[in-house]
């Protein structure tokens, strides 16, 4: 392991992590497959695939298209449902030494409340990610994170369910006019932190079939193509609320990319699409970021968070 004296720890609400590198929900399944490539406990936490109340088939195929420096996906939250997840997947993660952030997704405020009640009582959960921004829902009106009132209602309901037992991280969509106002809304509703950014809504048309490539027509765009959008969103929100921890994500492929998001204001970094390209990416990026922080003279990771906001001197 590293011989540096860097304090690499980070905090999301009351949850402390030995380092700031996380997986991104939906890009690491529930950890098992990734554990063949590195010990899951070596990264800060595994963020599990957003799980719903009931088992879910997801959408028809094609679900995916490669795009320039990115990809478009419309998986549709295929998953086992919360009861199977808590019975099988979560205990496996705990047994294998992974700190776990459980991501939940619902179609209604009540579903989010029910999901968070179940997660609250499960052992071995570090934090709760509330995915109010999945773009692949039946009705665009259901993207809670695109509407201040809906976003508030979900987070208030989750907060009532979990109280102070778990840090609540609200996952936000960049597909809004003013992400700062949504961020302020969910924080005042009881969220302890923010995860940003979810994918951007996009479309690919197949020029051979001359129809939209995805069965769902639209999908979520991820990968390095969206990184500048993530940097901007994190920068704006950190500027407005410098004390609120942000889990930054959006096309991080290298330690340098992660550092960029940290400078913008991220207290932790989720590795998403990069994991499809290179399943060792989370552990590699952790090492690269650590080396970069050392070379820039930081002794504490937390000192680098939002460093791009410092005044001119």
């Amino acid at each position: 392991m590293s011989t540096s004296s860097l304090d690499f720890t980070t905090q999301l609400g009351t949850a402390l992590f030995p380092n700031p590198i996380l997986t991104a929900s939906g890009c690491a399944a529930n950890g098992k497959e990734l554990s063949a490539f590195f010990p899951l406990g070596d990264i800060g936490a595994v963020v599990t695939k957003s799980v719903m109340n009931h088992p879910r088939s997801g959408r028809a195929t094609p679900r995916m298209a490669e795009t320039p420096s990115g990809m478009l996906n419309a998986i549709g939250l295929q998953g086992p449902g919360i009861d199977n997840f808590l019975r099988e997947d979560l205990p496996w993660l705990v047994e294998h030494g992974a700190r776990t952030i459980v991501s939940i997704a619902g179609e209604s405020v009540e579903e989010f409340a029910a999901l968070s009640r179940k997660v609250r009582n499960a052992p071995g959960v570090s934090a709760l990610e509330v995915n109010i921004s999945c773009p692949n829902v039946e009705n665009r009106g259901l993207v809670f994170a695109c509407d201040r009132t809906s976003a508030r209602e979900v987070i208030e309901a989750v907060k009532r369910s979990v109280g102070n037992s778990l840090p609540i991280i609200a996952k936000l969509s960049p597909d809004v006019t003013d992400i700062v106002s949504i961020a302020e809304e969910v924080i005042s509703a009881g969220a302890d932190g923010l995860a940003m950014i979810n994918t951007l809504l996009g479309m690919v048309i197949n020029t051979e079939t001359m129809r939209p490539h995805l069965a769902n027509k639209t999908g979520g765009l991820s990968g390095p193509a969206i990184r500048p959008v993530a940097v901007r969103a994190i920068f704006q929100v950190h500027q407005a609320m410098p004390k609120v921890p942000i889990v930054g994500m959006g096309g991080v492929l290298t330690g340098n990319d992660a550092f960029e998001l940290v400078l913008a204001g991220a207290s932790a970094i989720s590795i998403g699409t990069a994991t499809f390209h290179d399943p060792s990416a989370p552990i590699r990026i952790k090492q690269e970021l650590e080396e970069l922080l050392n070379s820039r003279g930081f002794t504490r990771f937390s000192d680098a968070v939002g460093y791009a906001h410092r005044s001119q001197s």
Partner: protein, 284 residues
């Protein structure tokens, strides 16, 4: 217990050779750690470009041959059909360059314990993983017949050394440039006599047609499917298809982890590209 679990290996594999074979490229890679454990039907997922590539998704290739001992240590061979930007990039690599390879991935063809009369059917370069399977079946004293089909002669993959591992080989091309004119499935329309098991690898249409023929004849058809994959290792959930499980429930299964080899009678061929009614977790 914070340890790596056992599973596929990720390695920078040196290209030993890259030979053009008809419309395809035959790549031999030094792949210690992968070659020794690979079984017929397994595949590898290869990344495209350098560390700043704009093509992020891995391309998957069935393992053609795996040799655990040789002058280069363990080697694997793959057959690459350059059609998109990614597969073209891989096909253009030359000896001594390295490719980032993950493998072996997926399940393998099931081999009966007792000798059988097997029919192996390959479409295009889908025949590649059937040759080592043929070797394995012959070691079990099985009789191995092979049928290979393609659109034209240059897309028939049936190397001389592979022909030695089968008892008979028939070829069909759609344009008639090699073997009989027509589709490979035309070769044994209603003719699955004296066959105990079918192994197939190729396009979905061919697999579906074979599954129908097999089901009618009461013969198991093990199908290696070609679904579009993003990661190849079970993370992304893009390569799913509807498959009926042992309890009779249709589930959207990942072809990279639960496959690529499925029982043709269990795959809901007409439901591919949909969520068939009654699928586990289907929208109400």
């Amino acid at each position: 217990m914070n340890e790596k679990t056992s599973g596929p290996v990720q390695a920078e594999c040196e290209i030993i050779s890259n030979r053009k074979v008809g419309a395809y490229h035959h790549l031999t890679l030094a792949a210690p750690g992968i070659a020794e454990v690979a079984r017929p039907g397994n595949f590898v997922a290869i990344s495209v470009g350098d560390s700043r590539t704009s093509m992020l998704l891995r391309r998957s290739f069935a393992i053609y041959q795996a040799t655990s001992r040789g002058p280069f240590g363990g080697t694997i061979e793959i057959i690459v059909a350059p059609h998109g930007d990614g597969s073209t990039w891989i096909a253009q690599r030359v000896a001594h360059e390295r490719l980032n390879v993950i493998g072996p991935l997926g399940n393998a063809f099931k081999i009966p314990k007792d000798p059988v009369r097997a029919l192996l059917v390959g479409g295009g370069y889908g025949s590649a993983p059937l040759f080592p399977l043929a070797e394995l079946l012959r070691q079990k004293n099985s009789r191995v017949e092979m049928a290979v089909g393609a659109s034209s002669a240059e897309r028939v993959f049936a190397p001389v050394e592979g022909k030695r591992s089968v008892h008979s080989l028939v070829i069909a091309t759609e344009d008639g440039t090699l073997g009989s004119k027509g589709r490979v499935t035309d070769l044994f329309d209603n003719a699955l006599t004296n066959i105990d098991i079918v192994y197939a690898c190729g396009p979905m249409g061919m697999l579906k047609a074979l599954s129908v023929i097999g089901t009618a004849a009461g013969v198991t058809v093990q199908c290696a499917v070609e679904e579009s994959m993003a990661c190849g290792i079970g993370l992304c959930m893009t390569c799913v298809l509807p498959v009926r499980d042992k309890e009779g429930v249709i589930k959207m299964l990942r072809s990279c982890v639960e496959g690529p080899i499925f029982d043709g009678a269990a795959v809901q061929w007409d439901g591919i590209g949909t969520i068939p009614p009654g699928t586990y977790g289907a929208p109400k």
